[in-house]
């Protein structure tokens, strides 16, 4: 990497992208942000925030969204981390095959992916059919439009993200280090937790950040699997904006979503170990 000598090069290379984002990305966001602090006559007010935050439904939905992210993230780590470890030990060819299988949920249309769970969890779906056939339930139970359905859908989407991030950080973990620890008398589980995990810690933190913020702001999964019964922040915002035409509330929820995402994003990444 060379030091950049002239400002002209910087402007030439970054200029077009910067101008594009300024006009078509930052300006609209700034507009919405300013709008959320303005009263009808254009004066500064926190009234809109007060109205939204003191609303009982908002509190319920906010806590629910947070709770689901808090449930999905550890499960994604517990199942995804061993998968990432497994992938990192494979030969290049097998690695490529397994990775393309695992990224499938990320690459296919979210509507198609989520719709599959309607077929599975529906009244006459495979889960209900099995449960009634085994006489666990006398008749089909409602599995769709519940928090559980959303959690399952979110896991399918975000586990691959965790696996990808962690497996790429595990590439840097040298097998010889593990074998050295083994030969020095550590057992397999000890090596895993004391050698492998610390060496891939940065990737794990990155993965957790992506999964957590992703769960917090996901739209399609809660929209299809939760419906109007189990609202999350994003489906609530959409309802306020497009169904109830309550722009003020939608704007405030939008700003609160950004703030919370940024807090989570920076909060989790603060765990990054220094010079490990």
């Amino acid at each position: 990497m060379n030091p950049l000598k002239s400002k002209k090069t910087l402007l030439l290379l970054a200029g077009p992208g910067f101008i594009f984002l300024l006009i078509f990305f930052f300006l609209p966001l700034l507009y919405v942000l300013i709008e959320s602090f303005q009263s009808d006559v254009g004066q500064f007010t926190l009234r809109r925030y007060y109205d939204v935050i003191s609303d009982a439904q908002f509190k319920l939905v906010f806590i629910r969204t947070l709770r689901m992210a808090l449930i999905v993230t550890p499960i994604a780590v517990i199942v995804g981390y061993p998968c990432a470890y497994f992938i990192s030990k494979l030969s290049a060819k097998k690695k490529s095959i397994l990775t393309t299988i695992i990224i499938l949920p990320l690459m296919t249309s979210p509507v198609a992916r989520t719709y599959a769970w309607i077929v599975i969890l529906g009244k006459f779906g495979i889960v209900n059919a099995t449960l009634t056939a085994l006489n666990i339930f006398a008749e089909p139970t409602r599995l769709l439009y519940t928090e559980g359905a959303i959690i399952v859908g979110l896991l399918q989407l975000f586990m691959p993200i965790l696996i990808l991030t962690v497996s790429s950080s595990l590439e840097n973990v040298n097998s010889e280090v593990e074998e050295a620890a083994l030969s020095l008398g550590s057992n397999r589980i000890g090596v895993f937790f004391r050698v492998v995990v610390p060496l891939s810690f940065e990737g794990l933190i990155m993965g957790i950040t992506l999964v957590f913020t992703g769960c917090f702001t996901a739209y399609v999964t809660p929209a299809i699997l939760g419906g109007a019964n189990v609202l999350t922040l994003s489906t609530l915002m959409r309802e306020q904006a497009l169904v109830l035409m309550n722009w003020e509330a939608a704007t405030v929820i939008a700003v609160l979503m950004i703030i919370t995402t940024l807090i989570i994003y920076n909060g989790i990444r603060a765990f990054k170990p220094r010079n490990m």
């Binding site: 990497m1 060379n2 950049l4 030439l12 290379l13 970054a14 077009p16 992208g17 910067f18 594009f20 984002l21 078509f24 930052f26 300006l27 609209p28 966001l29 507009y31 199942v79 061993p82 470890y85 497994f86 030990k89 490529s96 397994l98 990775t99 393309t100 299988i101 695992i102 990224i103 499938l104 949920p105 690459m107 296919t108 249309s109 509507v111 198609a112 992916r113 719709y115 599959a116 077929v119 599975i120 006459f124 779906g125 495979i126 059919a129 586990m159 691959p160 097998s175 074998e179 739209y219 399609v220 929209a223 299809i224 915002m237 959409r238 704007t251 939008a254 979503m257 950004i258 995402t261």
Partner: protein, 259 residues
């Protein structure tokens, strides 16, 4: 290192969980009845016929295709120079520049779509198709920067320096020496960005109007009114196409290493 049985068990479970639903939806799309039953009853192609008879699916498919294509091209045109800047040079304030250019990937898509609707459609009175194109370009931009950067890192930049020292202009050297070497990365970026745009819901959700929408949004609208396997059939078509594209891209370009 020997792999334990427990590890293989967990991986098998995860793979079944991740791709099982796709197999189930494909099987269910051949259902004879309109009830979404699994295992399905009989065999029928009627839901596939129905997919092609719904005009809005055709219209929105073309809109999605066009938006995806043009947004990806523009995102590449403005993204490649940024990737080059970040891989090639170090300079003061680089962290801030990188943060600015990755922000469309950090801000929730739903908020971006909402802001574009408020500002461009209502205040600036821009047509919805243009709003869709701009919103998609903005979110694809960090994507193209990341994938092209990954590809540039594998290229030995001293080759470019050699070309410049032999009298080539920096721009000439880029197009004649650098670009041919990162072509695979650029194609990978194109495919990944296009798929991202084609699948996008949060941005497109707010940017719809009379006769203008994207295919995923149209599928969501259809689901609100009809409960039959038509969406299963359409989803199956999309899933199979995606699998074919990803497989081909993995074989030719090794796309998974850019993810």
């Amino acid at each position: 290192m020997k792999k334990s049985k427990f590890l293989i068990f967990i991986v098998a479970l995860a793979v079944i969980f991740l791709i099982g639903p796709f197999i189930i939806i494909i099987v269910s799309s051949f259902n004879e009845t309109a009830v979404m039953k699994f295992p399905p009853k009989g065999f029928s192609l009627q839901w596939y016929q129905k997919v092609f008879s719904v005009d809005m699916f055709k219209t929105t498919f073309w809109i999605s295709l066009k938006i995806g294509f043009f947004a990806t091209i523009i995102a590449l045109v403005i993204g490649i120079p940024v990737a080059y800047l970040n891989v090639r040079y170090k300079y003061r304030g680089k962290n801030i520049v990188e943060l600015i250019f990755s922000s469309p990937a950090i801000i929730p898509g739903l908020v971006i779509g909402f802001a574009l609707l408020r500002y461009f459609i209502y205040v600036a009175q821009v047509p919805i198709t243009v709003g869709l194109f701009l919103g998609h370009t903005a979110i694809l931009f960090p994507y193209t920067v990341r994938v092209v950067s990954a590809s540039l890192r594998n290229f030995d930049l001293s080759v470019e320096e050699a070309a410049v020292s032999l009298g080539s202009s920096p721009i000439g050297a880029f197009f004649r020496v650098v670009f041919p070497n990162i072509q695979a990365g650029v194609v990978a970026a194109f495919i990944l960005a296009f798929i991202t745009s084609f699948n996008n819901v949060p941005i497109s959700l707010f940017l719809t109007g009379p006769g203008v929408s994207t295919l995923p949004i149209q599928m969501l609208v259809y689901m609100e009114y009809y409960y039959d396997p038509t969406i299963s059939a359409l989803s199956s078509i999309i899933i199979v196409l995606t699998v074919l594209i990803v497989q081909a891209a993995e074989k030719v370009l090794g796309i998974s290493k850019y993810m």
